[in-house]
């Protein structure tokens, strides 16, 4: 085992995971000079993209050309799938591997781009080292691995939310979970398939088996598909095909809103008992295959015993705005588990922290937070002259990729503790709204009608005011009307 990096020992921070979340966090910790180890159970970088998605390309876009250079910050809004970096050679790596004519990467293209990022950024990882258990020892956390113990002041668990999760329905354990579905040509040809679930993975695998020539396909779960949300998502053209066929009456295509009571094995086949609350009679379905597309959980190991509060029956940790366990200090999360940090969720709109385009920015925020809280050093907050404040915020609303991607969740924040405005950077909106410092946060939000609007939060003399501005059909917020609105809103703050 000699020659492997990061032997067991004492580190300021230990990062667990070598998927996009782990790599992005290590990159920013490195930029800030935070001494840290990176451990991974895998034998190479890529995380979930070493295995998923099974059938389809990703649902997030990567444009290969744009009106801005590929190496610019603005290009990040054109490319939801690359990691971010300060150096041009590390930016926009997905467009460089994307098959000609495509705008959504395949699993293999994601894996390649992440490996390239890890190599070029010289991110060191101790591969083949599984985190097994966790304990506290004074002010240190101790992570036990196959190779020995790692002591640290903060652990960043970038462990993904990709472990199969199956609800406690009698017999459902007989089904194959999504993660165990074989993508082998002809595997589902002429079969009757029931998929339990109605979210991304259910529609993805549904469309996958339809293409194989499935005879009958039924998707069943209690909750109707969230068409409002799906209509805004690139899922629509592919994943929703089974639903589209169901509502138009295609034979052998069914989408049921019913709870699954139990699953039985009858010889080589299955019988699935379901109950639709709007009907008196149960519906009994028969199938050759049952697939549980019932979701995923983060592999939290023994963290619940350590006191880490969880949500969704232990599937995710409950997090603070800085991605720390709400109950056990020092236990942080990166990658798609940061979706558990809720933010304001205005109008029910969630962050996109479950996707690379969301959590890549969370990683930068987390790294700075760790650097500042562990070392006590504070990154400079550059002053913004009063006459520059309005044009600066309008330019950010216009072009900041963080605001465009993480709507209603991330904001450009300027603080005004003593009258002078300082740039606090991009922060979770919740940090400013629930804080006490005077200043302004600018963000883009979906409103109740799913229109995108610029929203300003201004605190002066401790009093917070929310200003929801009108939408613009071309999403250009440098127009005169917005300038005047910001002048009015910020006038008192700028005049001190």
């Amino acid at each position: 085992m000699t020659g492997r990096p990061f032997p067991p020992g004492d580190y300021d921070v230990v990062v667990v995971g070598s998927g996009p979340g782990g790599l992005q966090t290590s990159y920013f910790l490195g930029r800030l000079g935070v001494r840290h180890a990176v451990l991974s159970a895998d034998d190479g970088p890529g995380g979930m993209f070493r295995r998923f998605p099974l059938f389809e390309r990703l649902i997030s876009w990567t444009h290969s050309t744009a009106d801005v250079p590929l190496s610019s910050r603005e290009f990040e809004a054109h490319d939801q799938n690359s990691l971010i970096a300060d150096e041009p050679e590390l930016r926009a790596l997905v467009p460089t591997v994307l098959e000609e004519g495509r705008r959504r990467p395949a699993r293999e293209e994601m894996e390649t781009s992440l490996r390239t990022f890890a190599e070029r950024a010289e991110i060191t990882v101790r591969y083949g080292s599984s985190w097994r258990s966790t304990r506290q020892d004074g002010d240190r956390l101790v992570l036990a691995t196959d190779d020995g113990e790692y002591r640290c002041r903060a652990a960043v668990l970038a462990i993904g939310m990709t472990e199969p999760w199956v609800p406690e329905i009698p017999g459902l354990e007989l089904a194959h979970h999504y993660v165990h579905v074989e993508n082998r040509p002809g595997r589902y040809r002429d079969r009757r398939v029931i998929i339990v679930g109605k979210r991304n993975s259910a529609f993805e695998v549904g469309e996958g088996v339809v293409r194989q020539g499935v005879r009958e396909l039924t998707l069943v779960s209690p909750r109707p598909p969230d068409l409002g949300r799906l209509a805004r998502s690139p899922l629509r053209p592919w994943y929703l095909t089974p639903y589209d066929e169901h509502v138009r009456g295609a034979p052998g295509r069914y989408v049921l809103n019913a709870s699954v009571e139990r699953v039985e094995r009858i010889g080589d086949a299955y019988r699935v008992h379901t109950l639709d609350p709007t009907r008196v009679e149960p519906i009994v379905l028969e199938a050759d295959d049952v697939i549980a597309a019932t979701g995923f959980e983060a592999p939290l190991r023994d963290l619940a015993e350590l006191g880490v509060a969880t949500v969704l029956e232990g599937r995710l940790p409950a997090l603070t705005p800085y991605f720390e366990s709400v109950t056990v200090p020092g236990v942080y999360f990166a990658g798609n588990v940061t979706q558990a940090a809720l933010g304001l969720r205005k109008h029910g709109v969630a962050s996109v922290s479950s996707m690379v385009c969301g959590f890549r920015y969370n990683a930068r925020i987390l790294a700075r937070h760790l650097a500042e809280s562990l070392t006590g050093t504070r990154e400079e907050r550059p002053p913004v002259p009063a006459e520059r404040v309005v044009p600066y915020l309008l330019a950010e609303l216009d072009r900041a990729p963080e605001l465009a991607m993480q709507k209603g969740y991330l904001a450009r924040v300027l603080s005004a503790p003593a009258g002078d405005l300082r740039d606090e950077g991009i922060l979770p909106l919740e940090v400013f709204v629930d804080g006490e410092v005077d200043g302004v946060a600018a963000t883009l939000e979906f409103d109740a009608d799913e229109e995108i609007r610029p929203v300003l939060y201004v605190r002066r003399g401790g009093l917070l005011r929310e200003a929801v501005l009108p939408p613009h059909p071309l999403r250009r917020y440098d127009a005169l009307a917005y300038r005047e609105a910001l002048d009015d809103l910020l006038g008192p703050l700028l005049r001190g």
Binding site: R223, D276, A309, L312, K346, H347, G348, D434
Partner: protein, 137 residues
């Protein structure tokens, strides 16, 4: 699907009249949210808030920085701004670890129309609140 949640829902007055499959549908319609002690759940004067039902833990109602009352298991909040389209008149802050079910504000009205017994329970609770507030004056 989340059996634990369904069991807990069945014990709350608000959902006491629902049959099992309906409770299961409710559990799937609402989102579960967990807040650490001190975290804010609803914010005074900020639009777009949700409707919340407390499953576990305690919360405080704070108006202009002043604590007004306490909420616990089975209590709910956010329905007034969700139904009237206004902004919350109070902060709701978690006092302990707080486990809630939430429904985005615009979805509350259609949810109540689909579940009239829940609407009736909510109306009774609002009527009691009104009676109690009159009595105090």
């Amino acid at each position: 699907m989340p059996d634990g949640i369904v069991d807990r829902l069945a014990q709350l007055t608000l959902f006491g009249d629902l049959r099992w499959p309906e409770l299961e549908a409710v559990a799937h319609t609402f989102e579960e949210e967990v807040f650490g002690a001190g975290q804010r759940v609803l914010r005074q004067g900020i639009s777009g808030g949700a409707f919340y039902v407390i499953l576990e833990g305690e919360a405080v109602v704070v108006i202009d920085g002043e604590e007004r009352s306490r909420l616990g298991r089975g209590d709910y909040f956010g329905e007034i701004s969700a139904l009237t389209g206004g902004v919350p008149v109070a902060d709701i802050r978690a006092e302990t670890l707080l486990r809630c079910l939430s429904l985005p504000g615009p979805q509350l009205e259609p949810f109540l129309l689909e579940h009239p017994t829940v609407m009736l329970r909510m109306l009774q609770a609002e009527a009691r609140r009104l009676r109690d507030s009159n009595r105090w004056q």
